[in-house]
């Protein structure tokens, strides 16, 4: 599995309210949530970001509530991957469970600059900075985790297994 796009940089402790403000939680429709993705961190984010782009953040990304709406909005906004120094625990779980690719690398989080062209290979855990011609090594997901993301989330994976 791979991701490829331009980097959008964010700081430390980006919380779930900034990712998808509570005022939009009267729906769980992914398309509607996507319209407000990252709105309280960068109001113009959805005007600027393109399909495939990558969010690069600092420490503790996704802290705050356990709302699954946060990773759902990022995934529905067609962001191909979130790279962060670290993720808040429940956000991390929820991302994997709903099929949003995420990867942790302190080096990538610090070194990547706004607008850099980035390619992530989840099999090897290699994050390539094409603009800077550099590579950062992250720990690759084991096959079963990749399987969850490839299949579109935990429930989709289980559905597929049951169907077999």
């Amino acid at each position: 599995m791979k991701a490829h796009g331009r980097a959008w940089k964010f700081g430390n402790d980006i919380n779930t309210d900034e990712i998808i403000p509570a005022r939009y939680l009267n729906t769980s429709d992914p398309g509607e949530l996507a319209l407000h993705c990252m709105e309280d961190a960068d109001p113009d984010f959805m005007k600027k970001a393109k399909a495939g782009d990558i969010i690069v953040a600092g420490k503790n990304f996704g802290c705050g509530s356990s709302r699954e709406h946060a990773p759902i909005s990022i995934k529905a906004a067609k962001i191909s991957c979130v790279i962060a120094h670290s993720f808040a625990r429940i956000f991390y779980r929820n991302s994997i469970n709903i099929g949003l690719p995420i990867i942790e690398s302190e080096e990538a989080s610090v070194d990547i600059e706004q607008g850099d062209e980035i390619a992530v290979d989840f099999d090897s855990g290699i994050i390539k900075n094409i603009t800077k011609n550099k590579e950062y090594a992250a720990k690759p997901f084991p096959p079963f985790m990749q399987d969850i993301i490839v299949k579109g989330g935990l429930m989709a994976k289980i559905k597929a297994e049951i169907a077999q």
Binding site: N60, E68, I90, I98, P142, M155, I158, K159
Partner: protein, 419 residues
């Protein structure tokens, strides 16, 4: 290299000889739980799978404790979903009003929590069961739905931090004060992703109730789980509750810890966490804040030991005329014991209101909501903005001794200030 107790339990449930921090694993779960807020979402997701059996009807606990007895029509509908699901799938551990108690107090009483187990719950305070030398952690509703179908959950193996506490506790200082003191020290993200392992002679002296109080609040430091090595007290408790087998795991001497922190228990004071974060701690003696309400209860401090501490202080006193004191035994068993030991008499004599077991005001659900500007001392675990009612109300977290003493004096005090 050796492994910690958490690493060993996770390895055993993943079918591995060895796991290390950062590794992602898929593990068998021995017990999973949900409540009347989180289980309905999981039930909906489970139903979409279109399967007609759960992985094991004896390993799922459905505990309607938050808005029960049903506070309104919406909460009644939620509980009905649990009841219907439990009936349809022959779920053994569904407990309705009259049998139910606050989930994290009830499951240990029922003997459902045993050393060496791997437990997940769609409730963040599922970490309570670490008191028994089990691995337990809070998850989302999707995790619960998936585990109901497969009996499995995935985990990232956490790094561990060792918290060594030694020395004898001062009078009126309890497990709650130790954990508030630790959270005040490391902060609300001080143990993010990590396992908090509690050791030392002070910890060994704690009762199972005290250990549950501490493990319960591991999440308030951002931790994945809190854990205690099982000992004679653990085994005695388990044997009095169940005949089912269990496994005792211990950290190796050469296990790796990301951090080791030491505390001198003799210096820990009765402690209060000021609004609006559990890390805003101060000695109760320096607080002296006038209050309107006191709540003694919850999965943190609603057990018999907590009620005994409160009764000892309240005996022969009256609750201050400007204060409402609510006492909520966490389970029916706690309620009954309190009745038999004469504690309920003491509470009623003191002019406290005693309620049936429920989460109630702990999450601002019902049975004691605060008005604008009101202040409450609570033996609960969270004091976020609006947690017990109006966004401009305030919650001060404390142990049962400070809570009882404050109810008498009308302001937050150290219990020895009553004399």
């Amino acid at each position: 290299m050796g492994m910690t107790i958490t690493e060993k339990i996770l390895a055993a449930h993943a079918g591995e000889e060895f796991v290390e921090p950062g590794e992602l694993i898929e593990a068998r779960v021995d017990l999973l739980l949900g409540n009347d807020i989180t289980a309905p979402i999981a039930i909906k997701e489970f139903k979409e799978l279109g399967i007609n059996t759960v992985f094991d009807n004896e390993k799922i606990a459905l505990i309607p404790d938050h808005f029960t007895p049903n506070k309104d029509i919406k909460s009644a509908e939620q509980v009905k979903m649990l009841r219907d699901f439990a009936h349809k799938f022959s779920i053994t551990h569904f407990y309705d009003v009259g049998r139910v108690g606050v989930e994290h107090a009830l499951l240990p009483e029922l003997g459902l929590v045993r050393p060496g187990m791997c437990i997940i719950g769609a409730d963040s305070h599922t970490c309570t069961y670490g008191a028994f030398g089990a691995f337990s952690t809070g998850v989302g509703s999707t995790d619960m739905a998936a585990a109901m179908a497969t009996g499995k959950a995935w985990f990232k193996v956490p790094e561990s931090i060792k918290f060594i506490v030694h020395g004898t506790l001062q009078p009126y200082v309890s497990a709650k004060d130790i954990i508030l003191h630790i959270i005040g020290d490391v902060g609300v993200d001080g143990a993010l992703y990590r396992s908090m392992e509690f050791v030392g002679d002070t910890i060994a002296e704690l009762s199972m109730e005290g250990r549950m109080t501490m493990a319960n609040m591991a999440i308030e430091a951002g931790a994945k789980n809190g854990i205690f090595a099982p000992d004679g007290k653990t085994v005695e408790y388990i044997k009095s509750r169940t005949n089912l087998p269990y496994t005792l795991y211990y950290s190796d001497d050469n296990a790796h810890y990301a951090e080791v922190r030491e505390y001198d228990a003799t210096t820990i004071e009765p402690t209060v966490a000021f609004p609006h974060l559990p890390e805003n701690t101060k000695p109760a003696r320096e607080a002296h804040i006038p209050i309107d309400q006191v709540v003694i209860g919850s999965c943190t401090n609603g057990r018999i030991e907590d009620l005994r501490i409160a009764a000892k202080i309240l005996k022969g006193h009256k609750v201050h005329k400007h204060v409402r004191l609510l006492i909520i035994p966490a389970t029916q068993e706690v309620y009954k014991k309190a009745l038999q030991e004469g504690l309920i008499d003491i509470f009623i004599e003191a002019e406290a209101a005693v309620s049936l077991p429920t989460c109630g005001p702990c999450l601002g659900g019902h049975m004691g909501i605060l008005a604008e500007g009101e202040r409450c001392v609570a033996t609960t675990n969270r004091n976020f903005v609006g947690r017990m009612g109006h966004p401009k109300s305030e919650v001060y977290l404390a142990g049962p001794a400070v809570a009882a003493a404050s109810a008498i004096s009308g302001k937050i005090v150290h219990p020895d200030e009553l004399h």
